[in-house]
């Protein structure tokens, strides 16, 4: 699987990045995770996180072990990826109100303050606009955008899109089987 290069699942927290990691791992791509943050009510199937990702600005040497594997990286840290390597980024997108609602609940459970909802909506929107413009200028980063709702509505079709983006070696039936619509919470109110 090394010819797939370095694969990164990214997006805003609570956008469905853990679900994407489950799909890729189910399909046969090795996930880099240290299980430091254990599964909980916010992510019953686990977070699939790697602590080293947080310190990539200081130490990116671990990327040598990331070839042919996938790790999760929050959107803001994409700026810190060394430009001397190539990356395939699967960027998961979800309704911003649902993301903020889910983040708010998680912050509450952690006992930490959440920013003002309107201000945070504007701030995350500004962040995504800037990040997307930046990503479009990075010749060493290929990006596939996947909608969270599309994953739930048509997991096999999305698995096939993702598999094509990654070279076609994954088991798409197993990827699709990782999608559990019952975990879709924090729906936007109509």
């Amino acid at each position: 699987m090394s010819d797939v290069g370095i694969v990164i699942v990214s997006g805003l927290p609570r956008s469905g990045t853990s679900l994407m990691m489950q799909m890729l791992a189910g399909g046969g791509l090795e996930a880099m995770t240290d299980n430091t943050r254990a599964a909980d009510v916010d992510n019953p199937r686990g977070y699939y996180e790697l602590e080293q990702v947080k310190s990539i600005k200081r130490d990116a040497s671990w990327l040598n072990q990331a070839v042919g594997k996938v790790f999760k990286m929050v959107s803001l840290l994409l700026y810190d990826l060394p430009a001397d390597r190539r990356y395939r980024v699967i960027f998961v997108e979800r309704n911003l109100d649902e993301i903020l609602a889910s983040q708010g609940k998680m912050l509450q459970r952690l006992g930490r303050p959440a920013g003002n909802a309107d201000e945070m909506r504007r701030s995350f929107t500004t962040h995504l606009v800037k990040l997307n413009a930046w990503l479009g200028q990075q010749g060493h980063i290929d990006v596939l955008r996947v909608g969270y709702h599309d994953l739930l509505a048509s997991p096999l079709a999305q698995a096939e899109r993702i598999n094509q983006f990654l070279g076609g070696a994954l088991d798409t039936a197993k990827m699709a089987a990782a999608v559990d619509p019952s975990l879709y919470r924090n729906r936007k109110q109509a």
Binding site: P13, K54, S55, V74, L76, G115, S123
Partner: protein, 61 residues
């Protein structure tokens, strides 16, 4: 329309720069610079707020 006071030397430099860059007036030039700088400042502030929230959630240091 509001008015601001700036140093006369700075104004002369701005007039020369506006002319050299092809702006129709120094007002147009200064407005463009202010808009650009404010957008940068607002984006930096937005990403600082995003970083604070991501830190609270445990996704960044």
């Amino acid at each position: 329309m509001g008015k601001i006071k700036i140093d006369s030397g700075l104004l002369e430099r701005a007039k020369l720069a506006a002319q050299a860059a092809g702006y129709s007036s120094v007002e147009e030039f200064v407005t463009h610079l202010l808009e650009k700088e404010l957008a940068r400042h607002e984006t930096d502030e937005a990403e600082r707020r995003v970083a604070d929230q991501l830190r609270g959630l445990g996704y960044i240091e």
